[in-house]
């Protein structure tokens, strides 16, 4: 027996290279979140869920959820936790807040995602060591296997097996970065062409610098409520209709099921679609915020989220089917490629974007026409975990 849960409000900091501390970012996002829902105060919060990946390394702070409670004046009376699931930590926090409310344990939760990633330049190798240790430190991290070479190899294998082209990768980056040009909080607010992408620094070939998301400071927050409580504070909640998550007993290179497909994404999406009653996602989804940590990721996701046949992801973007006026508007926020990727905050920001698309509060240049249904997707680590959540504007 589960209860309906809605997102009733949310807020954002500016994302980018911020002259602000980890604690500053928490306070900025908390203030913006509560200001978005005047009828909800810190006294109403029963559960607090914080998504944050590497505060121990980047901010040298642990036990961060109580810090958020203190900074925002929240007396937590039921549930408090930080979730760490690498790049999907934000969606994980959201998922557990949803579960707590759906299960009837609490009525109101704050979800806050935060990451401070930009350190003085001399600490880049130390930060990169932490990033490489997202995979098996002893056997993969030791080789310098952080995200760019890993996703470069996914791109290489996908191009090898399915004839995906370098230009198709660039189309994803150009699309998303151009959306971000009209997003006031995005890290990279500059329109980018396919040529710009292909001509950018070849960081980890075949991927170039503009195929990669940034190193980003930022935070975002959401307030979730049970349907009964939500209807007391707003008439435009975004309802969580489904949520799935999978990991196939794998994290290190040898044990991954594939280097060109993510069956975990397919399984997580099928779970969410079934809960949401979605039979044909391509027809039924209006807007999707998917995990474009690298341009290739979005192409694999078109396929493995069940929108097109395997191997046709490159053609999907080439045919304009993921544009704002396409079959599914994909990453109107600007994606990780345009907004940047403060690890723990990304999933929270994606859900806030879908909510804002539903209520029509995003910049008009990137507003999807009257969306009714949405999806957020995150992968984490060596893409060994996939998390999918579906949202709807109204309840049937």
């Amino acid at each position: 027996m589960t209860r309906n849960v809605g997102i009733v409000g949310g807020g954002h900091t500016k994302w980018g290279v911020r002259e602000a501390s980890y604690k500053d970012l928490i306070q900025e996002a908390g203030k913006a979140t509560f200001e978005d829902v005047p009828d909800v105060t810190p006294d109403d919060i029963e559960g607090l869920f914080v998504g944050s990946v590497q505060p121990e390394r980047f901010a040298f702070q642990t036990h961060v959820a109580p810090m958020v409670a203190e900074l925002l004046g929240i007396d937590v009376d039921s549930m408090i936790a930080r979730t760490e699931l690498a790049c999907a930590s934000g969606q994980a926090a959201l998922r557990y807040a949803w579960l707590a409310i759906a299960a009837g344990q609490i009525d109101t939760a704050l979800v806050l995602g935060v990451e401070k990633m930009n350190l003085p330049r001399e600490y880049t190798p130390e930060a990169q060591t932490s990033m490489a240790n997202v995979m098996d430190r002893e056997f993969d991290g030791v080789n310098g296997f952080n995200a760019p070479p890993y996703f470069a190899m996914i791109a290489q294998r996908h191009m090898h097996e399915y004839d995906t082209t370098r230009e198709q990768l660039a189309l994803v980056a150009a699309k998303n970065k151009t959306h971000a040009a009209n997003n006031a909080f995005a890290q990279f607010q500059k329109e980018v062409s396919v040529e710009d992408v292909v001509d950018s620094f070849p960081l980890s070939p075949p991927l170039c610098l503009f195929d990669c998301s940034g190193v980003t400071d930022g935070a975002a927050g959401l307030i979730l409520m049970s349907e009964e409580k939500a209807r007391e504070v707003t008439d435009e909640a975004a309802w969580i209709t489904g949520s799935g998550q999978t990991c196939l007993s794998s994290n290190s290179i040898n044990n991954l099921p594939s280097m060109s497909a993510w069956p975990q994404a397919t399984q997580a999406a099928e779970q969410a679609y079934e809960q949401a009653g979605i039979d044909d996602p391509l027809k039924e989804l209006d807007v999707a915020e998917v995990h474009d940590c690298f341009s290739i990721s979005e192409i694999v996701e078109y396929e493995d989220l069940g929108w097109v046949e395997k191997g046709e992801g490159g053609q999907f973007v080439e045919d304009g089917r993921s544009e704002l006026d396409g079959d599914i508007a994909v990453n109107p926020r600007g994606g990780l490629l345009g907004c940047g990727h403060p690890l723990g905050a990304t999933g929270v920001s994606q859900a806030l974007e879908v909510f804002n698309q539903f209520r029509g509060t995003v910049e008009p240049e990137r507003q999807v026409p009257d969306p009714e249904t949405g999806l957020i997707h995150n992968l984490s680590g060596s893409a060994s975990v996939h998390s999918v959540m579906t949202l709807a504007r109204g309840r049937q």
Partner: protein
């Protein structure tokens, strides 16, 4: 991070500001001006029997042989080596030899953003090597990205790790076959 203009009063070392004597009568709290490599950032930390129960893997490698574990109960081959079989949870595992020659399954280059200890090697080629029953990630030495293709034959080499500890440490890398 605060910026102070009065250089007589503060100096920045490793991101920490410390008061120095500039006529101030404040007490001075001294921090080390150089931070040594933090132990946990040493990727090769766990190789001896005091630190890991898969030390036999490293002993075998030091003796010149790449090995991994196989479960004697269910016959599952693991990589990385384990002490408990992930398939059947038996702890009756044996070390078996892996081939030292394989094919490049995928590869790229790290041109920036390398972890600690690898900054001086940039750019370097990183690959996934297919050894038949196992695919592992590895540095690919003596190779340029532009010269490589999927399927190229590569062979293992063993490197010695020189670093902050006294005992011998080794690891494996690969390079194109002659």
């Amino acid at each position: 991070m605060n910026e102070h203009n009065d250089e007589n009063r503060t100096e920045r070392r490793g991101g920490t500001e410390i008061a120095t004597d500039g006529g101030s009568d404040r007490d001075v709290v001294e921090l080390p001006h150089q931070i040594e490599l933090p132990r946990l950032l040493d990727f090769y930390e766990l190789q001896t029997e005091e630190t890991t129960k898969i030390s036999e893997f490293y002993d075998n490698l030091a003796d010149g042989q790449l090995t991994t574990t196989r479960c004697t109960e269910c016959d599952e081959l693991h990589f990385p080596p384990r002490i408990v079989c992930p398939e059947c949870h038996s702890d009756d595992l044996e070390y078996v030899d892996l081939p030292h020659e394989g094919e490049l399954f995928a590869f790229s280059t790290v041109r920036a953003g390398a972890p600690m200890g690898m900054e001086d090697e940039v750019p370097f080629v990183l690959g996934i090597v297919d050894l038949g029953d196992v695919r592992l990630s590895a540095h690919v030495d003596n190779a340029e990205y532009e010269d490589l293709e999927i399927g190229d034959a590569v062979e293992m080499k063993i490197v010695e790790i020189d670093g902050p500890v006294d005992h011998e440490r080794v690891f494996y890398r690969f390079e194109p076959q002659e």
